[in-house]
């Protein structure tokens, strides 16, 4: 759609929007005619804010009666404002999930697809129609709550805070709607769409929980970062929506393919192939090392480049952070390190420190890969960037304390890092690809096939490359790195 929007030329641009708005308007009217949607929206926008106002007032009065701090009300009232704004958004999912698959079920989609409307117009119109009722409901709810609070308790937030809540609410609504429209365009029944909506609800719920903590912490400026993050996710979601929007997919599939046997067979197909479009062949360890791994590395060259770039950038950023947060030399004295310093190393339930390192690294990389699936690959990179940032910070701190940072890196990191870092980079790159398959569709493959092909690559890479490297790294870290550190720095 973005490309399409960019290509619109006068005098066509007005017509592009006019035609799309015709559809949006029809959908809106259709939604507003459905009492199953309008009645709950009205209740949530008018009654719920009043209820929240009563609840907040009762809670604050009760706390103050028993000598509680006025801080409670300062925190509760803004928090309730966010909640009041969020609740009507739940309808964005109900409406947006219906957008395509609902029409498909009612068989009214094909006449619409046969009109001159472009994919971009259809996507834009459906998004807008799904977005307007819940967002207006949210704004109305916020207004009702603020009005009630002002007239009954004389409380009103700052204009800055109101703008922040409105921006947060709008950004969340767009994320939910764009996500739901994607789900709606990729499923074959409303039931399946509702089941897949958990992919939207769970991250949003987590986000609201984090926002709640920040609200009570009253560090409101942090929430602007959330607005920024949501804006970035919106861009990704819209791109994903445009990439995945396909008239063929909408009309072609009649049955849901979330069939475990089909998924397993498809996975096995890609497992047995060197190239996704190649022939099925017998899988041997020799073949995997000779042909599969080089082919996977070729396919991963872009994500690998991205991961390395992010690591370098965060390393530099970490180093620069020492200017803002310099540590006192007394915080850590490497010269005081001795073999006693490493006597009580963690092992958890595992027999040795070596196995603990290995399990920890595997858990971290696999956990990041799982989160990557739900974040288009981004969380995997972010999680790897955190230790890299710390490393850059530590190296710069060592330099400030008067030690050679290269010696620091060569002793603390290099011995095991030479194995561990490539493993981490490769696994993270494969995880990025796993998550990015949803927004970077491959020609000649369904989304599911694309994802399972990336999963087969991930598993091969993890078992045959990363795991051996991580084992060697753990052995070196536990048995070689520590003695080197003590030898170089220790007393």
């Amino acid at each position: 759609m973005l490309k399409e929007l960019a290509q619109i030329k006068l005098p066509l641009e007005r017509r592009w929007f006019d035609e799309a708005l015709v559809l949006s308007w029809r959908e809106l009217r259709d939604t507003l005619r459905d009492w199953r949607i309008t009645i709950p929206i009205v209740l949530l926008t008018l009654l719920f804010p009043v209820l929240m106002h009563i609840t907040a007032s009762l809670a604050v009065d009760w706390v103050q009666r028993y000598g509680g701090s006025s801080l409670i009300s300062e925190r509760t009232f803004p928090f309730m404002l966010m909640v009041v704004g969020f609740f009507p958004l739940s309808f964005s999912l109900v409406i947006a999930l219906e957008a395509f698959v609902g029409e498909k079920e009612r068989k009214s989609l094909e006449p619409l697809l046969a009109t001159p409307l472009t994919d971009g117009q259809l996507y834009f119109a459906k998004m807008l129609a799904s977005l307007i009722p819940p967002v207006l409901g949210s704004y109305l709810g916020i207004t009702v709550y603020l009005t009630a609070m002002y007239f009954t308790r004389g409380w009103h937030p700052s204009l800055h805070f109101v703008i922040l809540v409105v921006c947060l609410t709008t950004a969340k609504a767009i994320v939910m709607v764009s996500g739901a429209v994607v789900v709606s365009s990729q499923t074959t029944s409303v039931r399946a769409a509702n089941l897949l909506a958990s992919f939207i609800i769970i991250p949003m719920t987590l986000l609201v929980q984090v926002e709640s903590i920040i609200m009570f912490w009253a560090n409101y400026s942090v929430l602007w970062w959330f607005v920024l993050l949501l804006a970035a996710v919106n861009l990704l979601m819209v791109r994903m929506g445009i990439k995945l929007f396909d008239r063929e997919e909408l009309l072609g599939r009649e049955v849901d393919e979330l069939n475990p046997m089909t998924i397993w067979r498809t996975f096995k197909r890609y497992w047995s192939r060197v190239e996704p479009h190649g022939r099925n062949e017998r899988v041997t360890v020799g073949r995997i090392y000779r042909r599969d791994i080089p082919a996977i590395l070729r396919r991963l060259h872009l994500p690998v480049g991205l991961v390395v770039l992010c690591m370098l950038a965060i390393g530099v950023a970490g180093a620069l952070m020492t200017r803002q947060f310099p540590l006192d030399k007394s915080t850590f004295d490497p010269m005081a390190l001795s073999s006693e310093s490493f006597q009580n190393l963690p092992t958890g339930f595992l027999p040795s420190f070596t196995s603990w390192i290995l399990v920890h690294n595997m858990r971290a990389l696999l956990g990041a890969a799982i989160l990557a699936i739900f974040s288009f690959g981004s969380i995997a990179v972010v999680l790897l960037m955190i230790p890299m940032g710390v490393l850059g910070f530590a190296a710069a701190q060592f330099a400030i304390w008067g030690y050679n940072p290269l010696v620091f890196l060569a002793t603390f990191i290099l011995p095991h890092g030479i194995f561990e870092l490539p493993a981490a980079i490769l696994v993270t790159a494969a995880a990025v690809r796993l998550g990015a398959t949803f927004i970077a569709r491959q020609p000649g493959m369904t989304i599911g096939e694309n994802w399972l092909s990336a999963l087969a690559d991930f598993v091969k890479l993890f078992i045959f490359v990363a795991l051996p490297l991580l084992i060697v790294a753990a052995i070196i870290e536990a048995n070689v790195t520590l003695p080197i550190v003590i030898w170089v720095y220790g007393s």
Binding site: V22, D30, S108, E110, A114, L117, V255, M445, E449
Partner: protein, 313 residues
């Protein structure tokens, strides 16, 4: 108006056949001139709907090309959709809308002015006897009325090409006749029409050419007469007399290729009716026989269809 060359459509793996693309339409070529109707016949799943979807630029072909109303179906998909009216298999109406508003909505999608939308909607509603129901909600419409309204939606933007999938299904005989008359009228307005149907008499009545499609391939194509001649053999003529042949029959055998006969009737095959029929009539009349009727034995399109479809099984 419609020119398709080697159209092929493959779908990606389905749950049943992982990895193997399913070929819905296989190297299909056809052409329909302005003012002509092509009937696309074939069993369920033959590829008729996929063909219509490709020609209406809803689906992109895997291979091959087609031009509809002068536009390439891939490069100018939006223009193709603007020039084509598609009646889908299911009416697919928005049941919460009123008929007039529904037609107005589709008219707007084709950028028609309000006056044109109103005039065309009323013209066609009146034509199909539904003007009184213009302000009714579509949920109150009967099945046949919904189908007629879907057909009106197809014609709202006055398209140069019509792709009609089962236009008279679910209609009572009177409504079906109204629709058939409308199609005939639309053809005379120099529109190219493709008609997908299982109603063979309707196809025979409306179509200039018939294409029988099976497993995505056209396995027989031509006019009804051509197909009958090609697939059912030489036409059979039946002569009925007022009185028995008596001694004439052995001599008649010399005149024509008799297939069967009775006391007062006989059937013969003729490749050249213009020559054989007058000659036989003259011969019988000269010998005092009173001819009651002489006519070609009717051969239905159904017989052609079944022969084609079954022979390829």
């Amino acid at each position: 108006m419609i020119e398709a060359d080697g159209l092929t459509k493959q779908f990606l793996s389905s749950a049943q056949e992982v990895g193997e693309p399913f070929t819905a339409v296989d190297n299909l070529s056809l052409s329909v001139e302005a003012g002509k109707v092509l009937a696309l016949l074939g069993p369920n799943g033959a590829g008729k709907t996929t063909t219509v979807r490709m020609l209406s630029a809803v689906l992109a072909p895997t291979r091959g090309q087609a031009r509809v109303a002068g536009y390439d179906i891939v490069k100018s998909a939006s223009q193709v959709r603007r020039a084509v009216g598609v009646l889908t298999e299911a009416p697919g109406l928005y049941l919460r809308m009123r008929a007039i508003k529904y037609l107005d909505f589709f008219g707007q999608l084709y950028s028609l002015s309000a006056d044109v939308r109103q005039a065309r909607a009323m013209k066609w509603l009146e034509r199909f006897g539904m003007a009184d129901a213009a302000n009714q909600h579509l949920s109150e419409y009967s099945k046949g009325m919904r189908q007629k309204l879907a057909l009106i939606r197809t014609m709202m933007h006055d398209p140069a090409v019509l792709l009609l999938d089962e236009p008279t299904s679910a209609m009572d005989p009177h409504s079906a006749k109204l629709v058939r008359d409308a199609i005939t009228e639309l053809r005379s307005d120099k529109r190219a029409i493709i008609l997908c149907t299982h109603n063979l008499p309707e196809a025979e009545q409306l179509a200039d050419r018939i294409a029988i499609i099976r497993r995505g391939k056209i396995i027989a194509e031509g006019s009804t007469v051509e197909l009958k001649a090609r697939l059912l053999g030489t036409p059979v003529i039946e002569v009925r007399l007022a009185t028995p042949f008596n001694g004439l029959l052995p001599d008649v055998l010399q005149q024509v290729n008799i297939l069967d006969y009775g006391d007062t009737w006989l059937r013969y095959q003729s490749d050249d009716q213009a020559h054989d029929n007058p000659r036989l009539v003259r011969w019988l009349t000269e010998r005092g026989a009173e001819i009651l009727t002489l006519s070609e034995v009717p051969r239905s399109l159904e017989a052609v269809y079944l022969k084609v479809v079954e022979s390829k099984e």
